[in-house]
Symmetry: C2
Subunit: 297 residues, 2 copies
């Protein structure tokens, strides 16, 4: 085979290999970007789910607490839920603007791969025709007709290869341009989506921080103490009015016990419990009467 | 049993039950907050891992690309890595300032639970003593010595219960105060940690956005085309200088094939490929000679 023909054939081969590399690289890395970003998005969705569960628990908890803390925790839970709404938007936008376009590469790359395969087939046919021609020239240099036919076939194959290679070059050029454009767009979209989410999160958390800062812990604690004192108070109020035992009370130690109790209380439990007198009837009288009856029977 | 004594006993009982509720609620919700926030933190760590993998793939990909895109993708990957460093700081701070303090509640609640249990034992003992005394009074109202002993025991039990109940009330009061303070501090810390992370992420992504905006796609595409043309050029340069076949070239169709090739190229591939002439010797001459020899043998 003449050197110039060899060069043409080999040059086309390395040209196609270079294009194949471009596509293979894109396939490999875009595939990995796609699966990693899909996984990143799924993990973001799981983070959202976990935070949503926390929101639910916070609201349940708020309902068991005094009004001050209840309002604070509810507001905080609402802010936390708002962040999750933004996270949900982040997930949806990542899916639509990052993962979907990356997935589209699968189809695009498949098409370009098919083009490369076709081009290689055409190239191999050319080589086969050239080898056939070379063989004929060496084995039957006098068979003009056969050689002429083989020359025509080789020429046709060469034209086909040229057309196919140049078509492929255009395809790969367009593919590369699209790849670079999409890459920039996809990652810009990724960054924008993340940036918007994080900016919204900063905004909402700033409000959540204020909510927690404004929480009046002292008032809440006073509520708690009042509630607890309500229960103690029922006890103490009784005790304080019982210092002169009623005629119906047969146990003389009741008042004594009460006195030692209040003395003890004054010493150990501090002012707020000692001075408490507003009785809250926490225990139904029926129950007391019932038990009293039982004990007296 | 006298009404006043009954009231004291029952009031103490509901007092202890209210305190038990406070502790049970704290145990339940703080336990859930702890496990949910630990899970939230683990999921954040997984998000960081996934993004770190993406960073690694981006750098690998950058190394396969032309200088312009390589620099852009590397800078972008660095910014993405920076966000993960902040996420790592977020994870560490959540563990130290949110999860650890919530875990400490386990120990604290266990201690308070033990105090409640002890108080209930003391309460039950008082009730037992009172019942014993009541029984004695009904069955042997004349046995002054026995009744007197039982009265002393009941009195002692009553004093114990009072002391124990008030000690418990103080414990639970302190527990509640600590709970509210810790709750505010832990959630404020949570919000601060999240806020700092999101703010840093906004900052870094803003820079990443600029990096992607500044990417000169055209220059990159020109690089790609030059690289591809380098390989085509090798082909075309040969073809253009081969229009007059050298005496050593026996195949007359070589030049013909070349002419149709260049014509086709000119029509389909556009200016940049047509005008290219700087040949890059991509294929070692030894290989060509070797193959040439093989074909000529």
């Amino acid at each position: 085979m003449p050197l110039s023909t060899m060069n043409v054939v080999l040059s086309r081969d390395s040209q196609v290999r270079a294009m194949e590399n471009t596509v293979t690289n894109a396939e490999r890395y875009f595939g990995q970007f796609c699966s990693l970003l899909a996984s990143y998005t799924r993990k973001t969705a799981r983070l959202r789910d976990k935070a949503d569960q926390l929101v639910k628990q916070l609201i349940d908890f708020a309902n068991t607490e005094n009004p001050e803390l209840r309002a604070t925790i509810r507001d905080f839970a609402e802010d936390l839920a708002k962040v999750q709404d933004y996270r949900q938007a982040e997930v949806e936008r990542l899916e639509a603007k990052v993962i979907s376009p990356l997935k589209l590469y699968g189809a695009q790359i498949k098409q370009t791969r098919a083009d490369i395969k076709k081009c290689k087939r055409v190239q191999n046919n050319e080589i086969k025709q050239l080898e056939k021609l070379e063989k004929l020239r060496q084995k039957s240099p006098s068979d003009r007709q056969m050689i002429s036919q083989a020359e025509t076939s080789a020429q046709r194959a060469s034209v086909d290869t040229n057309r196919s290679t140049h078509h492929l070059a255009e395809t790969v050029d367009a593919f590369q341009e699209q790849k670079l454009k999409d890459l920039r767009r996809i990652f810009s979209d990724f960054v924008t989506i993340e940036m918007v989410f994080h900016a919204k999160a900063v905004e909402v958390y700033s409000s959540a921080f204020q909510t927690l800062e404004n929480y009046d812990l002292e008032r809440d604690l006073q509520d708690f103490r009042a509630k607890m004192r309500g229960i103690y108070g029922h006890n103490e109020a009784r005790l304080l009015t019982d210092t002169n035992p009623a005629p119906s009370v047969p146990w003389p130690l009741a008042s004594q016990s009460v006195q030692s109790t209040t003395a003890h209380q004054g010493k150990e439990a501090g002012d707020e419990e000692e001075s408490e007198a507003d009785s809250v009837e926490e225990i139904p009288l029926e129950d007391l009467k019932g038990q009293q009856q039982r004990h007296r029977d």
